[in-house]
């Protein structure tokens, strides 16, 4: 039997978002899309 449209919840909202699309949508400006480069962490600027 066909399933009514509203009876399923789609966690991807119909879009197959890759890692880079997700980060781009969030406005993240990471190196090559998903790489953090700053080596020093927890140090006072």
């Amino acid at each position: 039997l066909p399933t009514p449209e509203n009876f399923v919840k789609d966690i991807d909202a119909g879009i197959d978002q890759d890692i880079f699309d997700i980060n781009e949508d969030l406005g993240l400006e990471l190196f090559q899309g998903d790489i953090r480069l700053d080596r020093v962490q927890g140090r006072n600027s």
Binding site: Q32, G33, I35
Partner: protein, 638 residues
């Protein structure tokens, strides 16, 4: 990334921070299992090591590349990043890998179309030359989980990456699993010679039948054959595609009387984890009453012949096709796996055949949804399928919905349905993680790239009309019928409309012999809701730590029956104090040393000045005492 300093130890300490979504925590643990199966990289909860990976939920999915030796090294699995291949991708960065298309020789294999790239994003397509990045003597890999997809950073609808071999255009950017080459590179980089949870894989192509032995205490031997007149016509590994090869093992039940047996024993294994999953394909061309018994033979100092224990009896085997079976084993010592074919009643026209055995120290899936004649279903317009009903270990009844109505995308959804235990269960259903895996039926478990997605039932989730989404299906579900006419209630479905594409499902071995398998596991992951990514704590540990809150990412551990905070630290910083509330750094030490030096210097200066002043005063006094017109009497000299 070139440089030994960027390597992690083979066992990587990690922390799953509380900020992570509970589904993401479960997915990360599943990703670790894939690493354990294919590589020698292991993961353990952080216990105070100098450097560790802190997996947390920030904005987006990202990682650093390699071990930066900064103490707490962050890796973000943000919203929508809770996919197993995404987690594997980010951990490959952390292990020291760049993206595949940033290899120095990538222009030999792909063409970057610069004018189709979003303005300002061109830097994402820069390459690392071979002084910075080592390709580890492995060919360029279009199948890598580290490759961009063809539309990465596009400014329109045309691809930004065009593969020089056009067949790979839709292959790049797969988010299924580590490719063979990903595994090869990782194993080369970390000098792996074996993997942690893999034990054996056998497709019977070689005459040594993987070291398996025939028993002398049975009626007949299993035979290594490539076909049987009564079926199967070919093996399962190659499905008859390779002329002159494609072998399997066959027990000819025609040749023995009822009760006759054939016993095949595996080589000896030395388990490490104490739990195993045995997987194999079985074909019954006999009477339909033949039976396969699985035993384990465990050896001990006192029992050199080994103690034989029956683990599973496989009866009522469907005839005429290869069937996938999983058997859970719990072996802790030196042992063999034993396959016993047993002739049943009735006239036999063939027997039992086995092929593509895999043994690994992993958890077996709870259920198998076997979809036959998949190609025909696929070609039917607006097709969609519901699985048979299954029960989770907790007793929840569920069903899977496979949606083929929106091709080229294939959707998959998890539904709770009404079941026999509903009165005894907790509603809304709390924190059950459903993992749905489309099985890549490659004969070798290590070479599979199965497609997997997980969802978790959140008891607080509501629908538009205010009902709890995961409430009792009899209350919030809709009426439905099984094919036999039985009525039941089906709750709302939760899943993805983009589980896999038509092209991908037709690739690799997702469809084999026109059969598709969807593996299902539903487990209670409520223990991951708290700070529980640390090793499953004993109750006493949990009690002692329940009243202790560690600040700044510290974790509570029990030492000498006392709860203590272990505080995070880096190369040049650390937290300290009973609750990790104070921060220290090498800069502080320098400041203390310099200020102490200055203070001592100032003190010494003051002492010197005072001394000089006193001496001069005394001298002046002495001089003035020698002035004339003063009569001095009874003077003493010291």
């Amino acid at each position: 990334l070139i440089g030994e300093e960027y390597r992690w130890p083979h066992t990587i300490p990690y922390v799953l921070e509380d900020s992570l979504e509970i589904n993401a925590k479960g997915v990360i643990l599943n990703a670790f299992e894939r690493y354990r199966l294919k590589t020698c990289i292991d993961f353990k909860p952080w216990a105070g090591e100098a450097n560790y990976i802190s997996v947390f939920k920030e904005s987006g999915c990202w990682s650093y590349v390699g071990n930066r030796h900064i103490g707490r090294q962050e890796l973000s699995i943000g919203a929508n990043c809770d996919r197993i291949a995404t987690v594997q991708h980010e951990f490959l960065h952390a292990l020291g890998f760049w993206h595949e298309q940033s290899r120095f020789d990538r222009d030999d294999y792909v063409r970057i179309v610069w004018d189709r790239i979003l303005s300002g994003r061109e830097h994402n397509f820069n390459i690392h030359d071979d002084t910075e990045s080592d390709s580890l003597n492995v060919p360029y890999d279009y199948m890598s989980v580290m490759h961009y997809s063809k539309n990465a950073f596009q400014n329109g609808t045309e691809p930004t990456i065009v593969t020089r071999v056009s067949d790979f255009e839709d292959v790049i950017g797969q988010r299924l699993d580590l490719s063979d080459t990903d595994v090869l590179k990782l194993n080369r980089l970390y000098n792996c010679t074996s993997s942690l949870s893999f034990m054996d894989s056998c497709n019977f192509e070689l005459e040594n039948v993987c070291g398996m032995i025939q028993s002398s205490r049975d009626s007949v031997d299993w035979q290594r054959v490539s076909q049987i007149p009564g079926g199967p016509e070919n093996d399962h590994s190659n499905m008859g595609q390779c002329q002159g090869s494609g072998f399997f093992m066959h027990f000819d039940s025609q040749s023995v009387n009822v009760g006759g047996t054939a016993v095949l024993e595996s080589r000896i294994f030395y388990p490490k984890r104490g739990f195993q999953c045995l997987e194999f394909y079985l074909y019954d061309s006999g009477s339909g009453t033949d039976q396969l018994n699985i035993y384990v033979r465990e050896y001990s100092v006192n029992d050199l012949d080994g103690k034989l224990t029956l683990v599973k009896e496989i009866k009522e085997i469907p005839t005429g096709s290869w069937q996938l079976y999983y058997v859970t084993l719990q072996v802790t010592s030196k042992s063999r796996v034993v396959f016993e074919g047993l002739r049943g009643a009735g006239a036999s026209s063939g027997g039992l055949s086995i092929d593509d055995i895999n043994l690994s120290e992993t958890q077996c899936p709870h259920h198998i949804w076997h979809i036959r004649n998949f190609t025909q279903i696929f070609d039917t317009p607006n097709a969609s399928l519901y699985s048979p009903p299954f029960y989770s270990p907790k007793g929840y009844a569920f069903q899977i919905y496979l949606n083929l109505q929106s091709l080229p995308n294939v959707g998959i959804y998890f539904h709770l349905i009404s079941g026999a235990n509903d009165d005894q269960l907790q509603w809304p259903c709390p924190w059950q993680q459903a993992t749905m895996t489309l099985l890549d039926q490659n004969p070798d478990i290590r070479q599979r790239m199965s497609n997997q997605r997980s969802i978790t039932t959140d008891p607080f989730m509501t629908t538009d009309n205010g009902n709890y989404f995961w409430d009792n299906p009899s209350k919030v579900g809709k009426l439905a019928f099984f094919p036999n006419g039985t009525q039941f209630s089906r709750g709302g479905g939760y899943g993805t409309s983009v589980f896999i594409t038509e092209k991908r499902i037709k690739s690799r071995d997702f469809i084999k012999g026109n059969d598709v398998y969807i593996l299902l596991t539903v487990e209670d992951i409520s223990h991951l809701n708290s700070t529980s990514s640390q090793p499953a704590p004993t109750s006493s540990v949990r009690d002692l730590c329940s009243s202790v809150t560690c600040e700044n990412g510290g974790i509570c551990t029990v030492q000498d029956d006392k709860a203590e905070c272990r505080c995070p630290s880096g190369e040049d910083w650390w937290y300290m104090g009973e609750r990790c509330e104070k921060r220290g750094s090498t800069q502080d030490t320098i400041v203390i040393a310099v200020s102490s030096t200055v203070a001592v210097f100032v003190l010494m200066l003051i002492v010197t000045l005072v001394s000089v002043y006193c001496v001069r005063r005394k001298y002046r006094k002495g001089t003035s005492s020698k002035t004339p017109n003063v009569a001095i009497e009874n003077q003493y000299a010291f």
